[in-house]
Symmetry: C3
Subunit: 130 residues, 3 copies
C-alpha cells in the first residue's frame, strides 16, 4: 500500500477532541511517520486558538488555565512534533478577531481554508470530517 | 496548479450560511472563474427552497419576506451568476413535499444527490462538508 | 461512466437513519449491484451495535425490542445482503465497551476506522458524510 495521506477538516470547536483522538488512533494503527496528516481548521473551530487562556500563556498553559482548550492545544503541539500539520484559515481568524501574533508557533496560517482543502485533495489526500 | 474543482455537500438547513461564506472566501482567494464549484443539497437542506416566502416571490423576495432564507437564496442566485452550480436531490424535494415548479430557476434537480456527489468525486472534484 | 465506489462515514448515532435512506435512494438510482458501497462507523456511532436490545436478540430483534435501533440494524442487514459493506472501528467499540462477540454477523471490524476511510479513498472511493 502506498503511504496514506489524510486531511482532517474541522469547522466546529466541539469537534477538536474527536479529531485529535482520531489522529492518535490512526497513528497508533499505521505507525508514526508512515502517513502524511494535515488538519485544516476554518469557521468557528479556530476560536480555540483565540481564547484568553491561550493568550495568557502563549502555549495553552496560561497561569489561570485549567481549561479543556489549553489541553487540546497541548495535544496538537505534541502531534505537530510527530509531523502532523495544523493549518488555520486567515478568513476565519479575522472573523473571530484573533491576532495572528498570538497563535501557537506550530500553527500554519493560509489565506483560505477551502483552497487548502481542495488543493490537498487534488494532491491525493483523503478527506475526513470528524 | 491545475484548475480546482470543489463540491460542497449540504444536508442541513442550518449550514447554508456557512457554505455560502466558504464559497465567497474561496472565490476571493482563487479569483472568480478560476475554479469549478458545485453545491449539492439533499436531505433536510432542500427545505430552504420550499418555504412560503420563496413560493410567494419565486425569487426569494416574496411580498412578506424579510426572512433569512430569502436572503440566502438571493446569495445563491448571485453565486450562480458567477458560475457556481446549485443542485438539489429530487428524493429530498419529494420528501419535503416541494413542488419542482416552484424552485428558483438557477437550481438544477438531479434524481439522487448521492449519485451526483459520487460522480463528481470520480471526475476529480474535492469533497467539502461545511 | 465507470462503476461508482462510495464510502459513507458515520460517527454519530443520530445519523444512521439518514445514512440508510441515502444508500437506499442511491441504490434505487443506480440499480442494485451497480456500485460498491461501504459504510464505516467510528466514534459514538458504533453504540448502535451495543445496546441491550441487540445483545438480547443478536439480530436487533430481542424479546423486549421495539426500539428504533433494532429496526436500523435490521435495515443494515438487508442492505448487507444487497452487497453493502458495514465496517466498525475497533477503537470505537472498545471505547464503548462493546464486546465483539455480540456484534451482528454482517459487521466487519477493522483496527482503526480512519485507516479504512483513508485506504478506501486511495482506492478511488468517493467520501460522503451524511
Amino acid at each position: 500500500m502506498n503511504r496514506l495521506k489524510v486531511l482532517f477538516h474541522v469547522n466546529e470547536s466541539g469537534r477538536w477532541q474527536r479529531v485529535l483522538v482520531n489522529i492518535s488512533n490512526f497513528l497508533n494503527d499505521v505507525g508514526q511517520g508512515n502517513a502524511d496528516i494535515e488538519v485544516v481548521a476554518n469557521g468557528e473551530a479556530v476560536s480555540i486558538f483565540g481564547n484568553r487562556c491561550l493568550l495568557a500563556g502563549g502555549d495553552g498553559q496560561g497561569a489561570s488555565c485549567g481549561t479543556a482548550n489549553g489541553s487540546l492545544v497541548e495535544q496538537m503541539k505534541k502531534l505537530s512534533e510527530m509531523g502532523v500539520n495544523f493549518v488555520a484559515c486567515r478568513n476565519a481568524l479575522k472573523g473571530q478577531s484573533i491576532d495572528e501574533d498570538s497563535l501557537p508557533n506550530f500553527l500554519i496560517v493560509v489565506p483560505a481554508g477551502i483552497t487548502e482543502i481542495a488543493t490537498k485533495q487534488a494532491e491525493g489526500y483523503a478527506y475526513i470530517k470528524p
